[in-house]
């Protein structure tokens, strides 16, 4: 299966500090959700920053759709088909949902294509259509996250990088957000997902990679990683003593 994005033997870090990523390789095949899990400080968010051009790797190669574009900045990576939804909330609260979403299509010159993308994201995320003229700041956390998803899809990216999409969301909103991640994949966009809600993320993903000390420690089908008891104890947190309260999906 062809990869939408592939990072090969990446070394990367911040300033003159020791590298955070130490020979990391990861690939996101078309039509899949790949989930990165691992301890705090393992380098998960750094992988996404390298993939979107926010952080230039010290060495290694980045391929998008099979074409090498190592060392490019965010604008070039976006043009190549890599969109990044950052950790935390990034909507412009004083702007409407429409204005927020249309910002995602700022670089598009083809008005007919832009209009088709607007209809596409409205259909994919009903709350975006329903709250189109509302101020984004008045939406709930989960709704704002869907506006961010919609904005990222405006350029019809090959792959979307999602950094902790469930952070700060209540159980109902978390369930909705994970459903929307699956819908994004089913609509044709590959997803590279970083998430501390590791069990939930692996339940959603097709493939999983466990990062530790800046490189991929274990990778494979997400369902197999979930079933690995040693992995569960080390990285996913122990099973709760009492049955968890699970929201309806």
């Amino acid at each position: 299966m062809a990869s939408e994005i592939e990072l090969v033997d990446i070394q990367a870090g911040y300033g003159r500090a020791a590298p955070v990523l130490r020979g990391l390789s990861v690939a996101v095949p078309a039509g899949t959700i790949v989930c990165l899990v691992g301890p705090n400080g393992a380098g998960k968010s750094t992988v996404l920053k390298v993939a979107s051009g926010l952080l230039k790797p010290r060495s290694g190669r980045i391929l998008v759709g099979g074409r090498e574009i190592t060392g490019q900045g965010p604008q070039a990576m976006l043009a190549a088909g890599v969109a990044h939804v950052l950790q935390g909330h990034s909507v412009f609260r004083e702007m409407t949902v429409a204005e927020n979403v249309l910002l995602g299509g700022y670089t598009l010159r083809d008005k007919a294509f832009l209009a088709r993308r607007v209809e596409f994201v409205k259909e994919l995320f009903p709350v975006v259509a329903q709250r189109w003229d509302s101020l984004a700041g008045l939406l709930s956390g989960g709704q704002q996250k869907q506006v961010e998803f919609a904005r990222s899809l405006m350029v019809d990216p090959k792959v979307v990088l999602l950094d902790e999409p469930s952070m700060g969301l209540d159980p109902k909103a978390t369930a909705t957000v994970f459903e929307q991640v699956v819908r994004m994949r089913d609509a044709g966009t590959a997803v590279l997902l970083v998430e501390q809600n590791a069990r939930r993320a692996l339940e959603t993903a097709d493939l999983g990679c466990v990062l530790d000390l800046g490189r991929v420690h274990i990778s494979g089908p997400a369902s197999e990683l979930l079933a690995d008891p040693q992995l569960g104890e080390l990285y996913l947190g122990g099973r709760p003593a009492e049955p968890p309260v699970t929201p309806k999906r």
Binding site: Y14, G15, A17, G38, P39, N40, G41, A42, K44, S45, Q87, G88, L138, S140, G141, G142, E164, M167, G168, L169, D170, P171, K172, A173, T174, A175, Q196, N197, A198, R199, E233, L234, Y235, L236, G237, G238, P240, A241, E242, P244, V245, T246, P247, K248
Partner: protein
């Protein structure tokens, strides 16, 4: 919903932002010496409640008392001096200071010489390192906070709050962005600190954590409590299941 034994108690706390009512006459009592949790959907007023109680924003009306003392109009530093420490949902650390200096920043230098020189004594440094160790980030003591991951910064913020030895600790989503394997450590730490006499009020969406460490849970919806009780009661309360958990 009020209780005379409440360590931290509000009566009719109300706060609106424009036309949006964030707190709608919330009357709540959190018990002294217990692990209390405050849960509810996004937008139900939990963080606004923390902000009003800690003096970060002023309530439009209502009253807040802490161990019998009126702190309704107290400034944040006065609330801290009263014995209440807090963390934030979007954590606040000094990005260009090391982890150790971040924790040390929570306390004044002791002794006249220390205050004159702005320096911390060995005891304070040891205590700061001790908190970093209890939070599992002692290996990052010399790393600038901006070079730490989100989850590590959350733990660092908590270490700073604990360094100031608050009697009551308000935690706003301590599990947000923290690896599940570390949640057990946080849960154990909260229970241990509670056994040492500290009171907790925790806003958190991770129900496994909330249910495993809390003695008492208050559930907010639309700016006011809709239910309260021990985990065994809350986990089967139909209003909670409908409003919050979607089951």
């Amino acid at each position: 919903m009020s209780d005379e034994r409440g360590a931290l108690r509000t009566e009719g706390l109300t706060k609106a932002f424009g036309g949006v009512v964030a707190l709608d006459g919330a009357s709540v009592a959190f018990q002294h010496g217990r692990v209390n949790a405050l849960i509810g959907p996004n937008g139900s007023g939990k963080t606004t409640f923390f902000n009003c109680v800690t003096g970060m924003i002023r309530a439009d009306s209502g009253r807040t008392t802490y161990r019998g003392r009126d702190i309704t109009r107290a400034a944040p530093h006065a609330v801290a001096h009263a014995g209440i420490g807090r963390t934030f949902q979007l954590c606040r650390v000094f990005p260009r200071m090391s982890a150790l200096d971040n924790v040390l920043a929570a306390v004044r230098p002791s002794g006249l010489l220390g205050q004159l020189r702005g320096a911390r004594g060995r005891a304070e440094v040891d205590r700061a390192r001790g908190w970093l160790t209890r939070l599992g980030i002692e290996h990052l003591a010399d790393v600038e906070a901006r070079n730490m991951s989100w989850g590590q910064q959350k733990l660092l913020e908590l270490a700073g709050v604990l360094m100031s030895e608050p009697e009551t600790v308000l935690l706003d989503e301590p599990a947000g962005g923290v690896n599940p394997a570390l949640l057990d450590r946080i849960g154990t730490l909260v229970r241990d600190l509670n056994a040492e006499g500290r009171t907790f009020v925790i806003v958190e969406h991770n129900m496994d954590l909330v249910m495993s460490i809390s003695d008492h849970i208050v559930v907010f919806d639309r700016g006011r409590p809709i239910a309260e009780g021990p985990p065994s009661v809350i986990r089967s309360d139909e209003r909670v299941l409908g409003a919050y958990l979607g089951v």
